[in-house]
């Protein structure tokens, strides 16, 4: 692997391999010395043009656990606010000797541009670009599902036969896109649920079912996994639903819906949560909820990705 830009071009074997290495990385977190010497002497730059807490901290922790040097860059307070272009920023990082660049950018395709432009030689990890993809989030979600379902016997397995319902702001969600591609590649069936206004145009090619009724999706589909998405108010420049109370009533995971979920099913949320809007506090804090596991697993999965991108001397 040279870059990780999207989950769409990951094969099943690639994905399972990343998840298996992440299992080994997760074991490191349980040891007394939570550090590996693997990326000693390598430099990872976190290049964040958008606000982020957990993704940036997660990548930083992952790189540090592998002994890489980490440089954090956020657009606020940088030369970007003076009008520096992506190209000049990239060439600055190249001149500083970055081996890996973790990019988050409000424009879809920015990581791809960095990877293909020749401005910089480093391995590029997409940490969320516009409304396009957020591959490490999907990988950590798949990792979390696999661990909950298969426990310690998870290594080597895919998600064959698992049914996943993804609910909410599909239109603006890069998490939903990355998950649709990755989860179906791994053999899961994905159903998307949202108000019609929050579905993008041209979804006919997506390998997912579309529903508008959350109650029907829960009661008829009996999903193993319900993934709630954040309502991304910062990207909404129009009225997509009448008001937040109505959204919470019709498409939110409230206490009554949580009680009707199949036994053993899990509730996921990529965070940050709008409690009381897309997910009730009781659902978020219940034993079904994997929200905190997702954060912990995020570090392991990102360690696996950084290892695969930066440690090797060539293709396998």
């Amino acid at each position: 692997m040279r870059h990780l830009l999207s989950t769409r071009d990951l094969s099943r074997d690639d994905a399972v391999r990343i998840l298996d290495i992440a299992e080994d990385m997760a074991d490191v977190a349980t040891r007394e010395v939570k550090k590996l010497p693997t990326l000693r002497g390598r430099t990872v730059v976190n290049l964040f043009f958008e606000d982020s807490t957990r993704t940036r901290i997660s990548f930083e922790a992952a790189a540090k656990r592998l002994s890489a040097d980490v440089i954090n860059f956020s657009a606020k307070g940088s030369s970007v606010s003076k009008g520096e272009s992506l190209k000049d920023t990239a060439q600055t990082l190249e001149a500083m000797g970055a081996d890996g660049v973790v990019v988050r950018h409000p424009s879809s395709g920015a990581p791809q541009t960095l990877a293909q432009s020749g401005w910089i030689d480093a391995g590029i990890v997409n940490a969320g670009d516009g409304t396009h993809e957020h591959p490490t989030q999907a990988l950590l979600d798949a990792f979390t599902i696999r661990r909950r379902l298969h426990g310690t016997a998870a290594r080597g397995r895919d998600l064959d036969g698992v049914s996943v319902v993804i609910v909410g702001d599909i239109l603006h969600s890069r998490v939903a896109r990355s998950n649709v591609w990755l989860l179906t590649t791994l053999g899961a069936s994905v159903t998307l649920v949202a108000p019609p206004t929050l579905f993008p145009v041209g979804m006919g090619t997506w390998p997912a079912d579309v529903r508008y009724d959350l109650d029907a999706a829960i009661d008829e589909g009996r999903p193993d996994v319900v993934m709630m998405l954040r309502i991304q108010a910062e990207r909404m420049r129009a009225a997509f639903f009448p008001n937040s109370r109505e959204y919470a009533r019709v498409w939110g995971l409230d206490d009554a819906r949580t009680a009707r979920l199949a036994p053993g099913s899990i509730v996921m949320h990529p965070g940050p949560m709008n409690r009381g809007l897309e997910i009730s506090a009781a659902a978020a804090d219940s034993s079904r909820s994997t929200v905190r596991e997702q954060v912990a697993n995020g570090v392991s999965v990102r360690m696996a990705v950084l290892y695969l991108l930066l440690a090797g001397g060539g293709e396998v």
Binding site: D20, E23, D24, E32, V33, P37, Y307, L308, A311, G313
Partner: protein
Amino acid sequence: MSARTVLHQADIARALTRISHEILESNRGSASLVVLGIPTRGATLARRIGGILAGIDPELGADTVGTLDVTMYRDDLARNPLRASSPTQLPAGGIDGKTVVLVDDVLYSGRTIRAALDALSDLGRPRAVRLAVLVDRGHRELPIRADFVGKNLPTSSEERIYVRLDEVDGEEFVSVASGDDAQPTHGAHSTHGTHGAAGAGSGARP
């Protein structure tokens, strides 16, 4: 040119039995003994040695065998195609204060064992660390030697050593092939061979 078989199944069994006795002898019994195999074939050998030890000394604790993955500690990561890691599984009692016997199939450059020593020191502080190998083929690049050796096999660095174990490969023997015999009948992914000076101290990992 064809591969020359140097150890047959019975030879391997005898060598492991002897190694097991030597381990007990040098440790003066089975007290606080931990046997850690380096994946893939070292882990298989460690399980076998654990079974033989339990047969010799019934006092041996039940949970003495584990695996130690060294992938993340290797010094040749950037030179070779990337390796997938394997799980590290320690016995429940850990390794602090124990006598750890590392087990690998072939001892060559010594770099795998160097990585294993680094990995061990991140996991705890053993009282002593010993090394058991099925085959010592020479050509050390580091000041490392084995305490228990199944067979010393003087080789040219052009030659390759193939270790096949029943549990992993469905067949069992140790053979030597000369270097120009690039692709012997039984696949090249687990050779202990010639590629690169740092190369495959133990290439058994996938």
